[in-house]
């Protein structure tokens, strides 16, 4: 007998109740999450943007945030940030429509991110207010490593992509039966570790610094 058959055989013989129709099971599963607000941390009275900024810049998440008036201000804001942290003009900008449309003259877009002090600019698909997180998906115009290799991670987030909770994200991805990208990652601040004596240290393997540029739609 195959291992699969052995496992299913053991599970079915352990069950004390008879099998139920799939629709009944689906209904019971849906009922268990029918009222997500019961288990979601409440933040009534705060706007999505206020909550997002407060969480992203909190001591536990450690990102910095710059709110810009227009998308065209992004290169200037990147330049100011690089100056502030004492970095040169070497950056890697994600090759996507939103960022390609901007004027990147003045930057040397050829960094070697595999070495250690690189800086990348990437576009978040969504921002989650609950935790100050940003969401990325892999794709043709979205190499996932761009979000993990640099020491400095500059994230562009559009205000119209802000959502309250992770539960609000799942329907936006098309539901259970829509084709999904290879990888979806919810990133909350920078790479960290507490593996030595439970002391929190940033820049474990991924970015040590995250700077979020919030732009209008």
């Amino acid at each position: 007998m195959s291992d699969r058959a052995l496992i299913f055989g053991a599970i079915r013989s352990a069950k004390r109740s008879p099998a139920r129709p799939a629709e009944d099971i689906a209904k019971e599963a849906a009922d268990l999450v029918a009222h997500p607000e019961v288990t979601q941390p409440g933040f009534a009275g705060e706007t999505l943007l206020d909550r997002f900024v407060a969480k992203a810049t909190s001591e536990r998440v450690t990102a910095t945030v710059d709110q810009l008036a227009a998308k065209r201000d992004i290169p200037r804001a990147v330049s100011e940030y690089l100056k502030k942290i004492g970095q040169g003009t070497d950056i890697c900008v994600q090759n996507c429509a939103v960022l390609n449309g901007l004027d990147w003259s003045g930057f040397a877009c050829s960094p070697d991110l595999e070495k250690d002090r690189g800086c990348a600019v990437t576009l978040a698909e969504y921002g989650i207010a609950e935790t100050g997180s940003v969401v990325f998906r892999s794709g043709a115009d979205s190499p996932i490593l761009l979000n993990f290799l640099p020491m400095y991670h500059i994230v562009v987030l559009r205000t119209d992509t802000l959502i309250g909770y992770t539960e609000d994200l799942w329907p936006l991805l098309g539901g259970a039966h829509a084709p999904q990208s290879r990888l979806l990652t919810i990133v909350t601040g920078t790479s960290g570790t507490a593996d030595i004596e439970a002391i929190n240290v940033r820049g474990a393997h991924g970015p040590k610094h995250m700077h979020i540029l919030i732009v209008p739609p």
Binding site: A14, K15, L32, V33, P41, R60, S138, R182, G192, A198
Partner: protein, 474 residues
């Protein structure tokens, strides 16, 4: 790792004499408890979330065959190859075969307790593949050739001074200083190129999502995504109990897991893997395998150990266990230490091979109190003790002591006399202080800690005295 739980007492003696271990444990457990307390206090909906998480797990386990089939169908539709392994040996054979077929020379690995359970290190060595641990703690214990001592922080038994020594000796470029941030920097420098050049990556899964076929990892380091993207093959090994019905159900657990494990609202990276590289993708593996492992889980289903299948491996029970805090994880001699390990190890091996573990518990109940899915660990440990008694596995000393206690407890006059004498004797031994330093027949106890001095008179003596005083009052 080879299970040595049968030598628990020997391990404990060694652990209690290890001064470095004492320092390492005292530097960590207090911090972890305080961080957890703070985020739980801030989460007003914690009670509701905990109750809901337990209900979701109960539902999933009640329909485990249904959800496993659903997961398999959806994972295949995503492009994954799904394998089934009844035993650790079968799981190792599958991993070895995938590595051999891929012609792999090196494999980067993301920490996973299931991987430890099935012996991934052995599987890779069988395939002639060099194993590179990428989680910082796993990297440390790989260099030290130690087994993990905690399910979330496998190197909890090491002080930073010990880590510094290891890195000085074994890293290509020694750390700049022995401060913790520089030690982290040294590991980053040492591992970066290895992430990018490995042939195969191996991760576990914190959750399996039935209705999308996704596997989920949560990490703080981002090592999972860095590990599982560059190599041409990605292998996921996961226990069959990791299933949840859908993404919305996973949301409930993600909030609880990070809070219970590390005292954060969410880990830095929560990632859903849906298969191999899509056509046109800029990066990602060509092949994606999921190995679903049983290893006695299906036997626990429907038994009095079923609740253990709800465990989400947060480690809170060990962070709050006074026994774990005194002896660390290695003394348990098993993959899973602490309270959850003392329940799980007998189920994964045998009651006899792990007979001391259910007894290494004070039944103070803190493990259940901090468990994010409310597993009744103390009750389960008590049941295991009862089963040991029935299977005649209790030690002669335990049998004798319980026999003596039964004799005395059935004779109330003798019982009151004996407890009165014990209290009197203990107060004498306290030599006027509030703690007892030395006590005959309790050398094992007072060697490592003091006993509190009892109140004057036994409970019954005090009760009678107060009743007598009450009657006298007008």
């Amino acid at each position: 790792m080879i299970q040595t739980s049968d030598r628990f007492k020997e391990h404990v003696t060694r652990a209690l004499a290890d001064d470095d271990l004492k320092i390492a444990l005292s530097r960590t457990t207090g911090l972890l408890q305080a961080r957890r307390r703070q985020v739980i206090d801030e989460y007003a909906e914690y009670g509701a979330a905990r109750e809901r998480a337990g209900a979701i797990k109960d539902h999933t386990l009640a329909h485990l065959d249904h959800y496993l089939e659903m997961f398999e169908t959806n994972a295949r539709a995503n492009g994954a190859t799904v394998h089934w392994a009844k035993t650790p040996e079968a799981a190792r054979r599958i991993v070895t075969k995938i590595c051999t077929q891929a012609g792999a020379k090196t494999a980067t690995r993301v920490k996973s307790m299931l991987g430890e359970e099935i012996g991934i290190a052995q599987a890779l060595s069988d395939a002639g593949v060099e194993r590179i641990e990428t989680d910082l703690a796993e990297h440390i214990i790989q260099l030290a050739q130690d087994p993990p001592s905690h399910i979330v922080m496998p190197a909890m038994h090491k002080t930073h001074e010990q880590v510094a020594q290891l890195f000085d000796d074994l890293h290509d470029i020694a750390p700049d200083t022995h401060d913790i941030p520089d030690l982290v920097g040294s590991a980053r420098r040492e591992l970066r190129q290895k992430f990018l050049s490995a042939d195969v990556s191996i991760s576990g899964a914190n959750f399996l999502i039935a209705d999308t076929g996704a596997t989920v990892t949560v990490t703080n380091e981002g090592n999972s995504e860095l590990t599982c993207t560059p190599p041409k093959v990605h292998i996921v090994t996961a226990g069959i109990e990791k299933l949840v019905p859908g993404m919305a159900h996973a949301s409930v657990f993600l909030r609880l897991l990070a809070r219970a494990a590390i005292g954060a609202e969410i880990t830095q990276y929560t990632t859903f893997y849906n298969g191999p590289k899509r056509s046109g993708d800029a990066d990602g593996p060509e092949a994606y395998h999921i190995v679903l492992v049983d290893n006695h889980r299906s036997e626990m289903l429907g038994s009095d150990l079923q609740a253990m299948l709800k465990c989400i491996r947060c480690g809170a029970c060990m962070n709050h266990c006074p026994v774990y805090a005194a002896i660390g994880g290695h003394a348990y001699g098993a993959v899973y230490p602490g309270p959850m390990g003392s329940v799980l190890t007998p189920a994964l091996s045998s009651l006899k091979a792990a007979k001391d573990l259910p007894n290494a518990c004070t039944l103070n109940g803190r493990c259940k109190e901090v468990c994010p899915v409310n597993i009744p660990l103390p009750d389960m440990l008590r049941n295991l003790r009862a089963r040991q008694w029935e299977a005649k596995l209790a030690s002669p000393v335990t049998k004798l002591a319980l026999g003596a206690w039964r004799f005395v407890a059935r004779r109330p006059k003798l019982y009151h006399f004996a407890t009165g004498m014990a209290v009197f004797g203990m107060r004498l031994l306290s030599l006027g202080r509030t703690r007892i330093r030395r006590m005959p027949m309790a050398g094992g106890w007072v060697k490592y800690r003091d006993l509190p001095r009892p109140e004057k008179g036994s409970f019954m003596q005090q009760y009678k005295a107060s009743k007598h005083a009450g009657e006298k009052r007008p």
